[in-house]
């Protein structure tokens, strides 16, 4: 069996526009005045058709509308894209079709239409649950508006997730604990809880470099916040299945699991990445990031000529290990051994167990609680041991 089949097959579609740029965000998101959604629709449809020709015979498990802010897409556009996808591939019985939404009032009015268009799951960027912090994060919505949007979302969708960013400026352990309890009382089946990352090239990145981003939690407080988060969520029935993702059992994001489990995925839209195994070769692709450039290439019918790189077995193995170690279920040792074409006896990983970073359990290598906090080191050590 080809390795990707362990992970599945999904489609990611990138909508690169937002109403405003958040100061912490380094996603490929842009603020644009006039967006001709019809024109974008045509481009997405063209790319769907082209991708489908390369993957005939495959069954699609999931679709993810990510951004940017895909909830700025008109529902009719989303509907046309989803029906084109359904025409182009066979789909599993209950495909997961997620759309990322911002919790503003415009979005709230559209949830029903998205549902009708075929979206089955919504992931909402709540970010914080009080107005002062939302303002500091540069968000346009208030906490009340977000809650209201969320209520509408949950009345329309069975599966609703939301994102929070913690380890914010001035946040204490108990501030976060109180906020987390509130979040859990709202949560339906899934939660993403990210520690604030200062990304270079963002407004926060610049401010941080100039020493102007004060009162960020230090490493020790951030570690304590993470551990507390694990504990509180676990007790509430939302254990983490990935470093920053929590779900009730069976409600994990199937689309994101494809990434972490090393499946294949198509990336459609500006800057979208894809991984596709064709005749035993794994191809890595990245579409041009600039929205205008992407649109132009697609309209001229030459987007298919983007450079693609084929991953060496080592590179493939590297990606698999750095993604799969993020999961609570861990890295599948026989799979890794197979990718590398060599034996990986359990003894390979003794040193990790000794330093309490990772354990082997039924053929899987799993980061320990300590190891999850130090996952970059675990990844470095595993890479060193197996490559």
């Amino acid at each position: 069996m080809e390795d990707w089949r362990h992970g599945g097959f999904g489609l990611y579609l990138h909508w690169p526009f937002c109403q405003s740029k958040c100061p912490y965000c380094d996603f490929n998101s842009h603020v644009a005045g006039q967006i001709d959604q019809k024109r974008w629709l045509a481009a997405y449809l063209a790319e769907i058709e082209r991708s489908a020709q390369e993957t005939t015979g495959r069954t699609l498990d999931t679709v993810f509308f990510g951004g940017g802010t895909p909830s700025l897409m008109q529902p009719e556009i989303v509907a046309e894209i989803i029906s084109a996808i359904r025409r182009s591939w066979r789909m599993t019985n209950d495909p997961e079709i997620t759309l990322e939404a911002n919790p503003g009032s415009i979005e709230a009015g559209r949830f029903k239409a998205y549902r009708q268009a075929g979206v089955s799951r919504v992931s909402m960027g709540m970010q914080a649950m009080n107005d002062a912090d939302l303002r500091r994060l540069g968000r346009l919505h208030t906490a009340d508006e977000a809650r209201h949007a969320f209520d509408i979302a949950r009345s329309n969708f069975e599966r609703v997730s939301f994102d929070l960013i913690y380890a914010r400026q001035g946040q204490t352990l108990s501030d976060w604990e109180i906020e987390l309890e509130q979040a859990l009382s709202l949560a339906v089946d899934h939660l993403s809880l990210y520690q604030l990352t200062i990304e270079p090239g963002t407004a926060f990145g610049d401010r941080f470099a100039r020493g102007r981003l004060r009162d960020l939690p230090d490493e020790d407080l951030a570690a304590d916040m993470y551990l507390m988060t694990q504990e509180v969520c676990g007790a509430a029935g939302f254990p983490s299945y990935e470093i920053s993702n929590h779900a009730r059992e069976g409600s994990e994001s199937r689309h994101n699991l494809i990434y972490w489990r090393g499946g294949d995925y198509l990336g459609i839209g500006p800057g979208a990445h894809g991984r596709l195994t064709i005749d035993g070769i794994r191809w890595a692709r990245e579409a041009p990031r600039a929205p205008g450039k992407w649109l132009d290439l697609v309209e001229r019918g030459i987007a298919g000529e983007d450079p693609r790189a084929n991953l060496s077995p080592e590179e493939h193995a590297e990606e698999y290990l750095l993604m799969s170690l993020r999961l609570s279920e861990g890295l599948d040792i026989p799979r890794l051994a197979n990718l590398l074409g060599k034996e990986l006896p359990v003894s390979t990983f003794y040193s990790l167990a000794e330093s309490n970073l990772a354990m082997v359990h039924q053929g899987k290598l799993r980061a320990t609680q300590n190891g999850r906090l130090l996952l970059n080191e675990v990844i470095r050590q595993v890479a060193q041991l197996v490559l």
Binding site: Y12, Y194, Q195, L196, T197, E219, D220, A222, A223, Y226, I243, S244, N256, I258, Y259, Y265, G267, G271, A272, H273, G274, R275, A284, E286, E315, E318, E319, L322, M323, R326, S355, R372, L373, L374, L375, N376, E377, I379, R380, A383
Partner: protein, 599 residues
């Protein structure tokens, strides 16, 4: 040949920035020595670094023809001397080649520490001195007050001081006249055997080693065979020239004249500044009194950041030392930094200049270890050893006592800042020798350990006085003090490149500062790391760097796989920029910053 009474040889002494180079340029320009279009500002400062920093490092010379008011044309030889203390030895030897000096004082600033140091050297050399008040175009210029100051502080008659603006050219003709009328002509006997002083030598890419001489007696001609009296080496003169400032060939040089020759000499090191040059046959019997060669006083290690650059560094150091006999180097290995060189310099500026040139001209990335002075170890068996590198400190049980170099420092400062200066000197183990006033400026003289000055004294001095203090020093003597070697241990392993000699009473504070700084600089590891400062086996300061607790990426989706993989590959390569100490990896930057010693 020029008649003796038509020659004037002189130098210009001044505190840095008082306008020495500008004046030299004006003199050259006004006498038409250099065509207007060839005039680059500051003609005599030829090295890039000199031009950039506006300082003169090597002595330069120029021959000027000046038709004076008396109707006769004079030959004026100007030797432009370095102004900085590090190069004081060059000043003193250049001064021995001339008979007079122009003392340039910025009329808006007044007498400064280097003015004093340099003018005393000129007086020691027996010079006639003409005071020149520069920058009188500035509104802040106070020529009368500065005249008074010259009389009070230096004890020179300043009533005939020449007021000028080197910038605008005002007063320059008066300076030229003063040179002719107030400075003495050289003495010498044309018929006597050749006796010439080796004033300087340098390496020229086209000509090889160039030797600058001042003829005292006799005549030197192209083709002559000459002997260097100290080295006893014999050479044939290939080229004889004067500097205008570009080389112009000349048939002969007679008494009182200054010029250069080349003679297929291989290395600058084969020439001794101060040596006496005479003819191979019928030479003179008595050499001129020689000069003490300049001794390096500050040492530091220079290591390539990238170990692969060791060979290029060796070549670069060799090339530079060809042209700079006062810079010494010796191979050194450090557990921390790998292969490199222990280098000796005349002072911190010299160190910086050399390091800059290595990095710039040879495109090298270097790590500089803490500068150290030369300590004299008096061993119990009576032997006296020079200690250039704290890492080489022998076991204390063999050492009877340690002497360190002391300096006599002269500091001039507006009296508002006097208190800060006294405190600074006191903190650096200084002993006050003198304190006097000239107007609103105070002059303090301190006996200080050189070791306390090489770190950051000059920077501190500038910052506590907002740049208003001036400073000069001379090495005075070696003296015993309670000195100890402080080692730094990271995870219980000594890091040789960080060890230093300190005074016992200051060891704790130095040690504490160092371990605190290192705690910030060394990244957390998977285990906790003790960082200690120790004297022998006694720990005097300690910090613990706690184990890393968190290093995990919060978000990682399909679009991040490539980036994360590349990061992982880069980390594998990035190990090169870390130095491994037992289990601890210390980034190069940590050495550089820890050794900067800014507090």
């Amino acid at each position: 040949m020029t008649q003796l009474d038509l020659i004037r040889n002189f130098s210009i002494v001044a505190h840095i920035d008082h306008g020495k180079s500008t004046l030299a340029d004006r003199l050259i320009q006004m006498t038409g020595t250099v065509a207007e279009r060839d005039m680059k500002a500051q003609l005599l400062d030829s090295m890039d670094i000199e031009r950039e920093r506006g300082i003169t490092i090597k002595a330069n010379t120029v021959r000027i023809e000046y038709p004076a008011k008396d109707g006769r044309t004079y030959i004026l030889n100007l030797i432009d001397t370095p102004g900085h203390v590090d190069f004081a030895y060059e000043v003193s030897r250049s001064m021995r080649a001339v008979e007079g000096s122009l003392l340039v004082v910025d009329a808006s600033q007044g007498v400064e520490a280097q003015t004093l140091a340099n003018v005393y050297q000129a007086l020691d050399a027996g010079h006639e001195i003409v005071p020149v008040l520069n920058k009188i175009d500035l509104p802040a210029a106070e020529p009368e007050r500065v005249k008074q100051q010259i009389e009070d502080v230096i004890g020179l008659d300043a009533s005939d001081a020449v007021p000028i603006s080197a910038k605008s050219g005002l007063g320059i003709p008066d300076v030229l006249e003063a040179i002719v009328t107030r400075l003495p002509p050289p003495k010498g006997d044309r018929e006597a055997p050749l006796k010439a002083m080796l004033v300087d030598s340098w390496y020229d890419a086209y000509l090889g080693v160039v030797v600058m001489i001042r003829v005292m007696d006799g005549v030197i001609r192209k083709g002559d065979r000459v002997r260097m009296m100290q080295t006893n080496a014999v050479y044939g003169i290939d080229k004889l020239a004067v500097l205008k400032p570009q080389m112009v060939d000349i048939e002969e040089l007679g008494p009182g004249e200054i010029g250069i020759f080349t003679a297929s000499i291989k290395q600058v090191r084969d020439t001794r500044v101060g040596d006496t040059i005479t003819h191979e046959r019928k030479g003179c019997d008595q050499p001129l009194p020689g000069f003490k060669p300049a001794q390096p006083v500050v040492f530091c290690g220079l290591f390539p950041v990238d170990a692969a650059d060791f060979e290029p560094l060796r070549d670069a150091i060799e090339k530079l030392s060809l042209n700079d006999a006062s810079f010494s180097s010796e191979m050194e290995t450090s557990a921390a930094l790998g292969f490199g060189f222990r280098c000796g310099f005349l002072g911190l500026l010299h160190l910086e200049v050399i390091r800059d040139r290595l990095e710039r001209e040879y495109d090298l990335d270097l790590i500089t270890t803490a500068p150290s002075v030369v300590f004299k170890l008096h061993m119990k068996d009576g032997e006296i050893r020079d200690l250039h590198n704290p890492a080489d400190m022998p076991d204390l049980t063999y050492v009877d006592h340690i002497d360190e170099p002391r300096i006599k420092a002269t500091i001039m400062v507006p009296d508002d800042y006097l208190g800060d200066i006294l405190k600074l000197c006191q903190d650096r183990r200084g002993i006050q020798l003198d304190l006097s006033y000239a107007g609103s400026r105070a002059m303090v003289v301190y006996d200080l350990p050189l070791a306390e000055v090489v770190f950051d004294f000059y920077d501190r001095l500038k910052s506590v006085t907002k740049g208003y203090a001036s400073f000069d020093y001379q090495i005075s003597e070696y003296r015993e003090d309670h000195l100890v070697k402080m080692s730094i241990l990271v995870n219980d392993e000594p890091v040789d490149a960080l060890s230093m000699m300190v005074h016992r009473d200051r060891a704790e504070s130095r040690g504490r500062a160092m371990v605190e700084k290192l705690k910030e600089l060394i990244p957390r590891h998977m285990f906790k790391i003790p960082i200690q400062a120790a004297i022998g086996s006694r720990v005097i300061a300690r910090e613990t760097l706690s184990a890393m607790r968190k290093d995990v990426t919060a978000k990682c989706y399909g679009g991040d796989a490539s980036r994360k993989r590349k990061l992982l590959d880069k980390q594998k390569a990035g190990k090169k920029r870390m130095r491994q100490f037992g289990k601890v990896e210390i980034p190069q930057e940590a050495f550089i910053s820890a050794l900067k010693m800014d507090g």
